[in-house]
């Protein structure tokens, strides 16, 4: 039954299928890869990301855990220190915070504090993001909270192909990788994805070439930017879209290349504006690329608020293609 799952339907696979295929392929390839988390085995994950794994790999490599995020992360770290390659799922990124101590004080420091003798090859995966009337605890964007602590990699795929290729890379990476999958992108897009493609962590991807404004973004921001680009093209404005894919480490060269071309930078992310990753990108541009700038560095981000269950307030908070297009127009005419 699992076999069929891996074969891609003609019009391509969705992001959730990409995640599932990456897990299955890597678990087949390397017996040290294990998956642990709440409802990952019997139920196959609340979003079906781990559907079929229990049947194929058994109830030791696919572990339904108690509701205990500190030991989900902590046991993953100890198992990684003992030779396994754990992929721990946090049911929603909103529920990763009880593991914050283990992630920032243990996983992030282990190799550095043991002068390279003890690595922690783990992936901490979680569905994240808003726009689905999920309320405060099913809508959070937490990626920025992990970009201040050295020793962690933070990856946010926007498309099924990136999701699969980057998750395979994350599992093979010898260091801790936080991997956030936007819920709204799980089933919304299909894409043909080559088998066994492993994509590079730390490298951004030029999603669209253009010359007027560089839109630097990731996750659902890529899709907002694509929609805005279509509208703007009709007004003769050709935006360039850089999909960061990895937030830590940031691909400074790719940012420099695109800003060097357009001289106008717009950063887009759904996460809160203040101290979102956009702040670090804007700070880098304002320092290293100062001479390239013909206009202020602008950000279109989530407002500084929590995300509510009711739609009117939520829509006021999170960015959309319209706001991206509006910001591009103002920047282009600066």
């Amino acid at each position: 039954m699992t076999e069929a799952l891996v074969a891609a339907p003609p019009e391509g696979i969705t992001m959730i299928e990409a995640v599932q295929q990456a897990l299955i392929e890597e678990m087949r390839r390397d017996p040290s890869v294990v998956v642990m988390g709440e409802d990952v085995a019997i139920k196959g994950g609340v979003f079906r990301a781990t559907k079929g794994l229990l049947e194929e790999f058994g109830d030791r490599r696919v572990l339904d855990t108690p509701i205990a995020e500190a030991v989900i992360a902590g046991a993953a770290i100890g198992a990684a220190m003992s030779g396994l390659r754990p992929v721990a799922e946090f049911q929603f990124a909103d529920y990763i915070h009880p593991a914050y101590e283990q992630i920032v004080n243990q996983a992030a420091t282990m190799r550095w504090r043991t002068v390279g003798n003890v690595g922690v090859p783990i992936v901490l995966r979680a569905p994240f993001g808003g726009g689905i009337s999920g309320g405060i605890y099913h809508s959070q964007s937490v990626e920025a909270l992990y970009c201040h602590v050295p020793g962690l990699k933070v990856v946010v795929p926007a498309t099924p192909r990136d999701a699969k290729g980057l998750l395979k890379a994350a599992i093979r990476d010898d260091d801790p990788v936080l991997f956030f999958e936007h819920k709204k992108s799980y089933r919304r897009y299909r894409e043909l994805v080559p088998d066994d493609e492993v994509l590079p962590i730390g490298k951004a991807r030029l999603d669209r070439e253009g010359d007027t404004v560089s839109v630097i973004t990731y996750g659902v921001g890529v899709h907002h930017a694509r929609e805005a680009a279509a509208a703007l093209a009709e007004e003769g404005i050709e935006i360039e879209i850089l999909d960061l894919r990895t937030l830590a480490p940031l691909d400074h060269d790719a940012i420099a290349r695109t800003v060097g071309r357009t001289h106008r930078a717009l950063i887009v992310h759904e996460a809160n504006r203040t101290m979102g990753i956009g702040a670090e990108i804007a700070a880098f541009i304002a320092d290293d690329l100062f001479m390239d700038l013909d206009a202020p560095v602008r950000r279109v981000c989530g407002q500084d608020s929590h995300l509510p269950y009711n739609a009117p307030e939520e829509q006021e908070i999170i960015p959309d293609p319209g706001r991206v297009a509006e910001a591009v127009r103002r920047l282009a005419s600066y």
Binding site: D39, I42, D94, H138, S305, H306, P308, N310, E316
Partner: protein, 356 residues
């Protein structure tokens, strides 16, 4: 916190016990009416997230009945509809929240269904995060201990919540300082799809109390008297300064975990077994057997509640959604207060179940 209802003393006489059971049944019946309406609202797309208490209601209401309303504080979790209604919260308030309406006095339509918060009823704010509220209950007990106030904090949680570090840290601190708190575990044997034997090695959650040298008692959560007695004993123990207790109320989870769960991990036998332990028909049989209620009266009350809840749902649906522009109001102190439950036409604060 306003002083409210009369104290529920130990039902000495048979008739007092009958009255208590009758009242408990009334709230459980109200829960069931709201429960059924919520699933319909979910199917109609009028409420995007639904989760109900079906199977847990008697344990919730019978334990709340052991509280001194207005004096003791309640720290329920997202499944505790019975606790909420027993504290006097009305279906209309809950439905306003479930439909994300601006006038929802608990969260202004900002939290999911059942994420209530009511200082008037001394009900601590519910969040979706498992176990996070248990340390809050211990904090409330600590506040009563510091101010030498005669207030007990009761908190409810599921079997899955017992695995969380927050639960342990809260129980250990409460036991170490003998704080006036009662821990009530609604053990339905499931944490979404994870069965009890994968959650913990304990076959009875009550045994966890031995690790804190505090009393732990396991009761049939569908037996109103057993739950009420155990809770009253624990509340009095806490009030006497002897410290916390753990009550495990074994209950069935009759439906899926929530509207987002297909329950496919349970087979027909398990579903039938849960259905068979439905506490509502059991309580009705008990009341009819005691001659306190007739089948017709029961049916009439159910129908009355169904009509009332339908009217509440339609009224709530007609109420305005929040203005998008107020999204960042109440992030910090200083903003104009939102309506409290009392001032959106809910009449005098009903004192809860126990003093009609």
């Amino acid at each position: 916190m306003t002083e409210g209802s009369a104290t529920v003393t130990m039902p000495e006489t048979r008739s007092e016990e009958d009255r208590l059971l009758r009242r408990i049944w009334r709230v459980v019946a109200l829960c069931r009416a709201v429960d059924e309406r919520l699933w319909k609202l979910s199917r109609q797309g009028r409420s995007s997230f639904v989760l109900t208490a079906r199977g847990h209601e008697v344990a919730q209401v019978a334990s709340t009945a052991a509280m001194r309303l207005g004096v003791d504080s309640a720290w329920p979790y997202y499944r505790d509809m019975g606790v909420a209604f027993a504290l006097g919260i009305t279906p209309y308030e809950l439905l306003l929240g479930s439909m994300g309406r601006a006038e929802d006095p608990h969260t202004g339509g900002r939290q999911l269904t059942m994420h209530l918060a009511s200082p008037e009823r001394k009900l601590g704010s519910i969040s979706s995060v498992i176990a996070d509220h248990i340390p809050h209950a211990v904090g409330a007990a600590y506040a009563a201990w510091v101010r030498r106030e005669d207030s007990v904090a009761l908190c409810w949680f599921g079997d899955g919540a017992t695995s969380a570090g927050a639960t342990h840290e809260a129980m250990n601190l409460a036991a170490a300082r003998r704080l006036p708190v009662v821990f009530i575990c609604e053990n339905n044997g499931l944490a979404i799809s994870v069965p009890l034997h994968l959650q913990t090695s304990l076959t009875s959650i009550a045994d966890r109390a031995k690790g804190y040298t505090i009393p732990g008692v396991r009761v049939d959560g569908t037996d109103a008297i057993a739950v009420n007695d155990a809770t009253r004993e624990a509340v009095e123990r806490a009030r006497s300064g002897a410290g916390p207790s753990l009550i495990e109320a074994v209950v069935p989870r009759i439906l899926a975990h929530s509207s987002q769960d297909d329950d496919a991990y349970r087979d027909q036998a398990e579903l039938a077994a849960a259905q068979a332990r439905d506490p509502l028909p059991r309580l009705e049989r008990e009341l009819i057997g005691r001659g306190v209620l007739t089948a017709q009266e029961a049916r009439a009350e159910h129908e009355r509640f169904d009509r009332m809840v339908l009217a509440d749902a339609d009224r709530a649906w007609s109420r305005p959604k929040p203005e998008g522009s107020r999204f960042n109001r109440w992030l910090f102190a200083g903003d104009e207060p939102h309506q409290a439950a009392s001032d959106i036409g809910l009449g005098p604060l009903p004192g809860g179940v126990f003093d009609d």
